[in-house]
């Protein structure tokens, strides 16, 4: 079954780590350069994330995430390098286009921030199954109803995607154009999406009844079928991360 989740189980130490520890890592990776305020902290955290990804043997899987942001970073470089308000010092010129030092520096900072965020999130996303995250959230007092919402998205989406393919084929076989100029493509949008949307909304009624019958609305405390095995690295990693955060705050205040 195709899933939108990028989770891969490689049995590495990253997979065994508690989801909260990985969330704490994201927080640390983003906050350290922002609190520290120095540009060199970005490459340090980016390298750290790359090393962690490599240690979990998922470096290759993380690359599409980085490529995805490439256009965004490129646009920021162009716009800031050319038109930033603080632009004074000329860095280099290509023909009539002149890049300025201040704007490029600003763009480097933003670009590093984006890369840093992407990679630290990549660690979490690639090594945590949504099911595990939901279970842990529920165990720490999160409402099971919201847990259901998250789990259910992953069950509904493959169904909807399958329905989408069927409908796209059906509409094309009736002679609907899905390629061509903008007007043709805009006109194709409604006949493509409305049958899927309609049927999935109508299905909610039956799903609600089915859930009610199985005691979804009950208030009793839930029990779990699976117990997660404790990872000995959790307290160590959390300790290091909290230490880093405290260190950077103290360093900044001094």
């Amino acid at each position: 079954m195709n899933s939108i989740s990028l989770y891969i189980n490689k049995g590495s130490w990253l997979n065994r780590l508690h989801p909260y520890t990985k969330l704490l890592y994201i927080l640390t990776a983003i906050l350290v350069p922002l609190i520290g305020g120095k540009l060199w902290l970005f490459p340090v955290m980016i390298t750290a994330s790359l090393c962690i990804l490599a240690s979990g043997r998922i470096l290759g899987k993380a690359m599409p995430l980085v490529l995805f942001s490439f256009t965004l970073i490129l646009v920021i470089f162009l716009i800031q390098g050319l038109f930033n308000h603080d632009n004074r010092t000329v860095m280099f010129s290509i023909g009539v286009i002149t890049f300025y030092r201040e704007g490029v520096l600003f763009a480097v900072r933003i670009g590093c921030n984006i890369l840093n965020m992407l990679l630290s999130f990549g660690i979490f996303v690639l090594t945590t199954s949504p099911q595990e995250l939901v279970d842990e959230l529920e165990k720490s007092g999160f409402s099971p109803r919201f847990g259901y919402i998250i789990n259910s998205v992953f069950q509904i989406l493959p169904q909807m995607l399958a329905a989408r393919d069927v409908i796209a084929d059906a509409q094309r076989s009736r002679g609907m154009e899905t390629e061509g100029n903008m007007l043709v493509r805009i006109k194709a949008f409604l006949p493509l999406i409305s049958p899927v949307v309609m049927s999935s909304l109508i299905n909610t009624r039956e799903r609600a009844i089915a859930l009610e019958v199985r005691g979804f609305g009950r208030k009793q405390k839930k029990t779990w079928l699976y117990d997660r095995t404790k990872c000995k690295w959790d307290p160590v990693v959390r300790g290091i991360l909290v230490f880093l955060l405290v260190l950077v705050i103290v360093w900044r205040i001094w």
């Binding site: 646009v75 690639l126 992953f154 805009i186 109508i202 909610t204």
Partner: protein, 200 residues
């Protein structure tokens, strides 16, 4: 005013939320499949807001971005969780005030949603990306305003308006026609003013 925010947290509304999140994803997918220069990624949020009210709309919006951000690695989405929340809230409030009842009125709803998106996204764009949005048309506007010497704030605001307002208008038109076609037995599930009549 209390009636506008009245929400039924029944199983039906809980089930509606994942369906709406799925619809958001489909909208975005079709928009990129047909290479439309729009996002169309909040159709579900708007449906949720119109059916379940502002609270459900807000939950749909926020949950949508959080779930996709934390599972598909698209954490650019994560930044805009608060934007989605506000779109859901704004559309939900306007829908409860009766601005989804006729086709001309729904444009007010679309403008409300678009405005909410613009007001929340602009500061986020400036903080995270220095003012750009990642949309070709919007960024062209931003580049033009910057070259013309306007401030980053105004440039980014125009950038957002050019992209978000048409996007929300088209979204609401789609939502309007979809809601029109839904059977009564479904919409009755979400009607807050419905009374159960007992025969005993």
């Amino acid at each position: 005013m209390g009636k506008i925010f009245k929400t039924k947290f029944t199983t039906a509304t809980i089930v509606l939320i994942p369906a709406c999140i799925g619809i958001n994803y489909l909208g975005k997918l079709f928009a990129s499949l047909l290479k439309l220069p729009l996002w169309l990624d909040c159709i579900g949020t708007c449906i949720g807001a119109c059916l379940g009210g502002p609270v459900i709309g807000a939950v749909c919006g926020a949950a949508n971005n959080l779930i996709y951000g934390l599972t598909t690695g698209d954490n650019i989405t994560l930044v805009y969780a608060f934007t989605s929340l506000c779109i859901g809230l704004a559309v939900g409030i306007l829908a409860r005030m009766g601005f989804m009842s006729t086709f001309p009125k729904s444009f007010v709803c679309a403008l409300g949603g678009g405005l909410a998106a613009v007001l929340v996204s602009t500061p986020l764009n400036i903080i995270f990306w220095g003012g750009t949005t990642g949309n070709v048309w919007g960024d062209a506007v931003f580049a033009a305003t910057q070259a013309g010497g306007m401030s980053v704030g105004i440039g980014s605001l125009l950038d957002e308006i050019v992209v978000d307002v048409p996007d929300k208008i088209i979204t609401i038109i789609i939502v309007y026609f979809i809601l029109r076609g839904l059977p009564r037995k479904l919409t009755a599930l979400y009607d807050v003013n419905a009374k159960t009549e007992r025969l005993d």
